[in-house]
């Protein structure tokens, strides 16, 4: 018996069936654990289906709120997808989002450009600001080999301090006791669709998802991304423009996060506040991972997560369950999906002695 031991072996070929089964099982187990946590936290089982599904997806007001919440989530999900496909760790999505919101507000406060073009200018500025913020870790990585993980993280903190510096200082609304910027003018707000708080930003999010899908799955750049993401030495050896592709995609990642900030301030808040975008780095990464870095799958994933956030609001109001539960559920689902990949990637076998003992 002592000669028998467990060994771990990396599977050389992974069948689609195995991939799909493990992924589906992981998602189901994760969601089941999330439900158990909800029940343990005091959500009544009898109304759970109603609170979690019917209210947030199948009632008019609930669906409107879910889609409103989904707009920035779609964009940060795409932002994380763009970076993670190249194995670039953008853990500063929040920072780029805040810079985007600051960029849009900068245009609004200084009345840049003509009144009719103000809104597009604000949105473009938000994307540029987000891209500029990620350009710092990108340049440090490409030119000096500095790890992007820590720099994106640190710059997020810097961005939040900049946001507070502006809101408690130069940009503080004189007629408001809270640290918020003055309210934008009518020409500086996205059009309301007359469906709850939903604004025309949803069309922008949908259009960008489609463009991202084409870029990643149909274009030559998409092919480059795949090669670089899977095997960088091969990409370099075959003459694929590695630096240019990385630069393009990482700037895009920052721009998408910045635009998410721009859409929140022009679509929902109508002013700069310090409460936007909290936890979006983690949510973006969770969405991208659950969507298996596929832009088209980001869309439903972000909408479902927005529904959970929306339901979290209801649970808080009616049953006093803190909204931290939504973060907890995301953590559980991500952890389960990660752990189940063990059964996808490895084979565990009992190793018996190859020579039989004479009997």
């Amino acid at each position: 018996m002592s000669n028998v031991r467990l060994t771990l072996e990396r599977r050389q070929r992974i069948s689609t069936l195995r991939s799909t089964t493990t992924y589906t099982l992981g998602l189901l187990i994760g969601l089941a654990c999330g439900l158990l946590v909800l029940l343990a936290a005091g959500a009544p089982a009898s109304t759970l289906l109603n609170d979690l599904v019917i209210q947030v997806f199948f009632s008019a007001m609930g669906l409107a709120q879910t889609l409103t919440l989904a707009v920035p989530l779609i964009l940060v999900g795409l932002s994380a997808t763009a970076a993670m496909r190249l194995r670039f760790w953008n853990v500063g999505i929040e920072g780029q989002l805040w810079l985007g919101a600051i960029g849009a507000t900068l245009v609004a406060i200084n009345d840049v450009g003509s009144d009719s073009l103000r809104l597009p200018t604000m949105l473009i500025m938000s994307a540029i600001a987000g891209a500029a913020w990620i350009a710092v870790p990108l340049i440090l990585k490409l030119k000096a080999g500095v790890n992007e993980l820590v720099v994106t993280l640190l710059l997020s903190n810097v961005a939040y301090l900049l946001l507070q510096h502006l809101l408690f200082g130069a940009w503080k609304d004189p007629v408001n006791s809270f640290p918020v910027s003055p309210r934008y003018g009518d020409n500086e707000q996205l059009a309301s669709l007359g469906f709850g708080n939903l604004h025309s930003g949803i069309y922008i999010a949908l259009g960008i998802t489609l463009l991202m899908a084409i870029l990643v799955q149909k274009s030559r750049t998409g092919f480059y991304i795949d090669v670089i993401g899977h095997n960088r030495p091969t990409a370099l050896a075959t003459g694929i423009p590695v630096t240019a592709t990385i630069t393009l995609m990482i700037l895009l990642s920052g721009a998408l996060a910045g635009l998410a900030g721009g859409l929140i301030v022009t679509g929902v808040e109508h002013r700069l506040t310090q409460t936007i975008g909290i936890n979006t780095t983690f949510s973006g990464i969770v969405i991208a991972f659950i969507a298996r870095f596929n832009p088209l799958a980001v869309l439903p994933t972000a909408i479902v997560l927005a529904g959970i956030y929306n339901a979290g609001g209801t649970l808080k109001v009616f049953y006093g369950i803190p909204d931290a539960i939504v973060v907890l559920i995301q953590g559980i689902v991500l952890l389960t999906l990660l752990m189940i990949q063990f059964f996808r990637s490895y084979r565990v076998s009992l190793l018996r002695p190859s020579i039989k003992q004479p009997t």
């Binding site: 060994t7 771990l8 072996e9 990396r10 946590v37 936290a41 760790w89 853990v91 440090l140 000096a144 080999g145 500095v146 790890n147 993980l149 820590v150 720099v151 993280l153 640190l154 710059l155 997020s156 903190n157 810097v158 301090l161 900049l162 507070q164 510096h165 408690f168 200082g169 983690f282 990464i285 991972f289 006093g320 369950i321 803190p322 909204d323 931290a324 539960i325 939504v326 973060v327 907890l328 559920i329 995301q330 953590g331 559980i332 991500l334 952890l335 990660l338 752990m339 990949q341 063990f342 990637s345 490895y346």
Partner: protein, 308 residues
């Protein structure tokens, strides 16, 4: 002026200790080759556990011990995911961070904003009146002295003992360590659990020692600063301790300046530690010295059959 410096230095540990404990834990973990992004979550769980137990039992010591255990337990979950199940370390770390923040928020909800009698400073008469450093050195609670001790012990462990050599070997080259008979998985699990325990203690310090209250988001990004401090300190526990005091001194300076009426751009000045860390990263990358580099196998899951 003298009084200003005395009170400034005296309030520095309140900011420095949580950073020091967490970053020293992360140094240990990263030296064993495991990149641990969960610190923020372990700290939140530790802060909540310590506060809730101190509130209900009235005994900060029990609260602090349980916070250490809670941090270690959550880290063990992370360890199981990355060491046994070979999960991607960054994502598994972020997931455990979310689990820690989530549990702290949900369980701690009924105890928010309730103040309690926390850990008191040791009362050393006369000595704390020594000018400038009196309050810094002689008017602190026991955790401050413990933190310095832990720092020295950790440095001795890593640099001067066989056990430390094994941990470092696993972080640099797990395949060779494995061949030499070191149990890679055991070393990593121990290092990860210890880092969670230290982060739990860091959280307990926040709630029970420095503020005597628990509020949600109490950790407020300190786990991330601790992670950056590890790089800032070039993976050396004593430098992490020193770095934490440097960062703590900058943080402690601002409320002092405001107290004596000096107008300071608070938020801009608070950016300094982050910008300074980025500058240090850049200088380290440019100088290209091999000393003080990240452990070679940091972040890579180890499977015996893989070619390395």
């Amino acid at each position: 002026m003298e009084q200003f410096i005395t009170s400034w230095l005296g309030s520095t540990p309140a900011f420095a200790i949580p950073l020091a404990l967490a970053s020293m834990g992360l140094v240990l973990c990263e030296r064993a080759g495991v990149l641990n992004m969960g610190a923020e979550g372990y700290m939140a769980l530790g802060a909540m556990t310590a506060a809730v137990l101190t509130l209900t039992l009235g005994n900060p010591a029990i609260g602090i011990i349980c916070a250490v255990l809670a941090g270690a337990a959550l880290a063990l979950l992370f360890g199981f995911a990355v060491v046994i199940m070979r999960c991607e370390q960054i994502l598994a770390g972020l997931a455990t961070m979310a689990v820690g923040l989530g549990i702290a928020g949900v369980v701690g909800r009924p105890y928010v904003h309730k103040s309690f009698a926390g850990l008191q400073p040791l009362d050393l008469p006369v000595l704390d009146r020594i000018p400038l450093i009196g309050r810094l050195v002689f008017n602190q609670d026991i955790l401050v002295y413990l933190t310095v001790l832990i720092g020295v012990a950790l440095w001795l462990l890593l640099e001067r003992t066989r056990a430390g050599l094994k941990i470092r070997a696993v972080g640099e080259d797990p395949a060779s360590a494995d061949v030499a008979g070191v149990q890679v998985q055991v070393q990593q699990l121990v290092a990860i659990t210890a880092s969670g325990a230290l982060c739990g203690l860091a959280g307990a310090y926040l709630s029970v020692a420095s503020s005597s209250i628990w509020v949600e988001n109490m950790v407020a990004g300190r786990g991330w600063i601790a992670l950056a401090l590890v790089v800032f300190a070039r993976w050396d526990p004593l430098k992490a301790l020193a770095g934490a005091f440097l960062f703590g001194a900058i943080e402690a300076l601002l409320p002092r300046l405001q107290a004596i009426g000096v107008p300071a751009p608070t938020y801009l000045m608070n950016m300094l530690p982050y910008l300074f860390t980025i500058a240090v990263l850049l200088v380290a990358a440019w100088s290209g010295s091999k000393k003080g580099m990240a452990p070679a196998a940091l972040g890579k899951p180890y499977v015996r059959q893989d070619r390395h």
